[in-house]
Structure formats: C-alpha cells, structure tokens
C-alpha cells in the first residue's frame, strides 16, 4: 500500500514519447529534404536522364540537336548533294 502512493499514473508516458519521437523524425525529414534541395541532389541524379539520355532517346545521339532546339546539329540525317541520307550514329 505504501508503494502504491509513491507512484503516480503513468498512462500518458507512451503517448508523450510517441509525440516527441514523431516530432524528431519530422524535423529530421524536413532537414534532410532542405539539404537535398540545397545540394540539388535531385537535379544531379536526374541530370543524365533529363539531359543526355533524353537526346539519345529522341535523336540517337547525346550530342544531337534537332529543329526543336533551333538549328540541327549532329542530327541523324545528312544532306549530301541535295539528297538526304539517314544514318544512326552521327559524329
């Protein structure tokens, strides 16, 4: 009986700890996301896919430019003597 008086109700402890841990996790996540944005991690990861791969997918060469980009360069077509020659791997 004496011991019972020494202890108070601790039923809210788990909830309090849960909220504290959740706030730490959220803060960590927000800090990580802001760091990702600051370091342009997304841009660095996506860069090759959005840049050189997109051109390779479209024209067959990472260095190619088409009419969408203005004047074609290394476009997979060649005009020789007024006649068009198509080829796959332009230099």
């Amino acid at each position: 009986m004496e011991l019972n008086r020494l202890f108070r109700d601790e039923s809210g402890q788990a909830v309090t700890e849960y909220v504290l841990i959740l706030s730490i996790i959220v803060m960590f996540y927000m800090a990580m996301m802001s760091m990702v944005n600051r370091l342009n991690l997304g841009e660095r990861l996506a860069g090759p896919i959005v840049g050189s791969y997109a051109k390779t997918y479209k024209y067959g060469s990472p260095t190619a430019k088409g009419f969408d980009e203005g004047t074609p360069e290394n476009h997979p077509r060649a005009v020789i003597g007024g006649k068009v020659r198509l080829f796959i791997n332009p230099r």
Binding site: G42, E43, A46, I49, Y57, G66, V84
Partner: protein
C-alpha cells in the same frame, strides 16, 4: 510487486530502438530504392513508346482515301497502344508516364503529320513526316525537387520524346488532284 520494483530499477528493454532507426532510415533507403524502380519502369515504357510511334507511323505511311484517313488511322493505333482503350484519352500507366504537350489533344502528347522542320517543297526537309509522342515521368516517388514548376531536372521530372518519321504515301485524293492537273496526258488511273 515485481513490476513496481522493475520500474524503480529502470527499464532495460530497448525494443523501440530498431523502430526509431528504421523510421529514420526509411526515407533515404526507400527513396533510392523507388528511384531505381521508377527509372526501370520509365525506361521500359520508353521502349514501348518507341514501338508505338513506329507502329503508328506505319499506319500513317500506308496509302488511304485521304490524308485525313491516314491521320485517323495513325491516331487510332497510337491511342490503342499508349492510352486506355480505343476511345479514351487517359494514359495507360499514369503512375509511370503521362502524355505531355503535342498538337493533338484527343491523344495527349501526340503530333501526327509534318514535324517541326517539315517542308513538302524542300527535298532536304520533306522526309520529316510521321508520328511523335512526348511524355513526362516523375523520377522520384519522394517529393525531391520543386513541385509545381515545369518538368525538368530540378523538378525531378523527365520529358522524353519519341519520333518516327517514315513519311507518307500519296492518298487516293492526292493522286486524283495530281492526275487532274495532267489533263489526261499521262493517266494510268489512281
């Protein structure tokens, strides 16, 4: 009684540690994992789209009653392949890729006919006829990048364009109009 003594001594259990560590690492691990899963799906879809534009360009190439007929056939083929069904404009796998830009809103992302440099009177540019399809894909499942901005590397979205320039055979009406101008001098029929 034993439990109260245990509380006084302090809890030895560390069963929550793994949970907390898992919660902290899940964002990074799953972010990288899903990036590669998503990338694989995009590349597979891109391969399929190349085939779709080629098949659609074949339908456009084949002769028909009129140019409109050729365009309609090409549109039908493309729609059946990259959209949901023969009449729908909804993307087949919107989680992987969505049709983007294009001239024809009935098949979002597609442009059928002359390309950006097409000139029917110029020998060097008359080849640029066919089908192109543009789609955009989200590379990151986790919100990396700036949402709401144009799709590019900084917004974590890839925009890919598939082109298939196979040309177009003259349609029956094209033939008739040419033959009528010849006024029966050379007329083998159409």
């Amino acid at each position: 009684m034993r439990r109260k003594i245990q509380i006084i001594k302090g809890a030895d259990s560390q069963s929550g540690q793994s949970l907390v560590e898992f919660a902290l690492s899940i964002f990074l691990v799953f972010g990288v994992l899903f990036f590669f899963v998503q990338l694989s799906l995009i590349l597979s879809w891109g391969n399929f789209v190349q085939y779709s534009t080629f098949m659609s360009a074949r339908a456009y190439l084949s002769g028909g009653v009129s140019q409109q007929d050729q365009e309609d056939r090409a549109k039908d083929v493309l729609r059946r392949m990259v959209k949901r069904g023969s009449v729908s404009n909804d993307d087949r796998f919107p989680m992987i890729a969505k049709g983007f830009e294009g001239n024809d809103d009935t098949v979002k992302g597609s442009s059928i006919g002359g390309g950006p440099g097409f000139d029917p009177g110029n020998y060097d540019l008359s080849w640029m006829q066919g089908v192109r399809y543009t789609f955009k894909s989200r590379l990151f499942v986790l919100p990396i990048g700036n949402p709401g901005v144009a799709p590019n590397a900084s917004s974590g979205q890839a925009v890919l364009t598939s082109e298939s320039w196979l040309g177009r055979d003259p349609a029956y009406r094209d033939c008739l109009s040419v033959m009528q101008q010849l006024k029966g001098q050379i007329d083998n029929g159409c």
